[in-house]
Amino acid sequence: MDALDQMMAAFAAAGGDRAVLADADTAHLMVDGHRILSSRGIEGIEVVARETPSGLSATVRVRQGVRITRPVHLCFGMLHKKGSQHVRMAVQVEKDASVSFIAHCIFPGAEEVIHTMDADVVVGEGAEMHYVESHFHGLAGGVEAIPKAVINVAENGRYLGEFNLVSGRVGRLAIDYLVQVQKNGVVELLARVFGHGSDSIDVREKVVLAGENARGLIKTRVAVEDEASAEITGITEGNAAGARGHVDCMEIVKDHGVASAIPLVRVTNPLAKVTHEAAIGSVDKKQLETLMLHGLSPEEAVEVIVRGMLR
């Protein structure tokens, strides 16, 4: 089996649909370590990728007014047990364009792998981008993943971002996102992570509502069990009239896990409003009892609640 076949198999095992990579109408980019295994652009979207000594550099450009109907699939992974991969991404969604990305970051057999990403995203005026990134780091806990992104959302633009790491071990995760939102722009960030063993989770997301009536939501759902730890920092600034932001963090702690939440809200315009809520603790007693009253064992009930929160 060659690298492409192996990565395709890992992609499918992580929930990816292999058929989309063969579809001539679907743009994609698949990378193993520092090697580009496959890529395709389609009309209206330009995907340019090149291998670098440390990994990969890619630019994606969606042309003005183009609405890409099928999600663009990105697959960054590493089949080797040890190594590093640095991905540099620049995404530009031009005025009034729209696009969805489904990104898979797959490290199925990782024992000592470092994956870093630096993304620079521009969502143009009236444009829309939906980005869903799902990670699978294997079962050894040997991945260090450090995704960083700077995202600029122009007037009337929308950016919806999701990050999921809920199967297998996390290893060490350090997310650092900064989003700037202009007039009437909308951003929603959602992160779901489940830590086990000695996993370490550090999520830092900052939304700056710079324009009038800009909207922002940072939503984080984290569960930690065994000895895993999580520190979630959600920062929202309301700097213009009519700006509305909310930070919503929920963490469930099991066993000897440790979780903390640091919601930071800052308002510099009296007509802006930013709110926050955080709930950290064991599984809610009333939820637990409700599910047990429906016939589930205590263990099944906890599983349903945690999985539901991370869904």
Partner: protein, 257 residues
Amino acid sequence: MDQGGDLPGGPVLLNSHMPLLAIKNLSFQVGAVKILDDLSLSVEAAQVHAVLGTNGTGKSTLAYLIAGCKGYRPTAGAIFFDGQAIQALPLHERAQLGITMAWQEPVRFEGISVADYLTLNNRDLDPAPFLELAGLDPARYLSRMVDRSLSGGERKRIELASIVALRPRLAIFDEPDSGIDMLSLSDIANVIKVCRENGSAVLLITHREEIALIADQASQICHGRMVCSGQPSEVAAYYKSRQCAACDMGGGGDGCS
């Protein structure tokens, strides 16, 4: 009726007919405050028994003690279910015996759809008829989440539907009408009726006499004591008269007979 046996737990020897649920001399105290005081009650299989009482009389506490909620263990007395003393059993073991409860204010869940919720214990079940029974359109609700996007009334109806779907041996409904508009009382009556037809006994906790009239039997609690038991119409009339407002019934029980 004499259940015999020692309290709590242990095998129970029956020397006469045993109701499905038998509560014997139940007391529950928090600090110096008596919430329930020497309360006895029995419910037969497939019987609907209403427990009437004003706010703060101990009705919900009685429900939590029967269900086995955390922090609710009798100070004295016993609870028998199908002849077995259950007051020492944890909630999930009581549930496995066939006891369930619909909370007055049902909790919300993230990431659990209405369809999932109604089939938690039986993935092969078709949940649609149960939603219809509770007055909700399955096409609109099955894929929705049991979360904060539901109104209080919608969430309540979903809880009622889920209890019927469980086909429990004993269903405790704690104020099933709260949060549901008056015009929907017929939906509640239908839910109770179907439970009874399915062979479920129902303990119907309410502060409204018109709800109690759905029942086969009724009792009134006042200040933690059972002050009246009998036909629902009689108990409802007694409750409405507020005769026990001073709650000095000389030990409680049969104040209306």
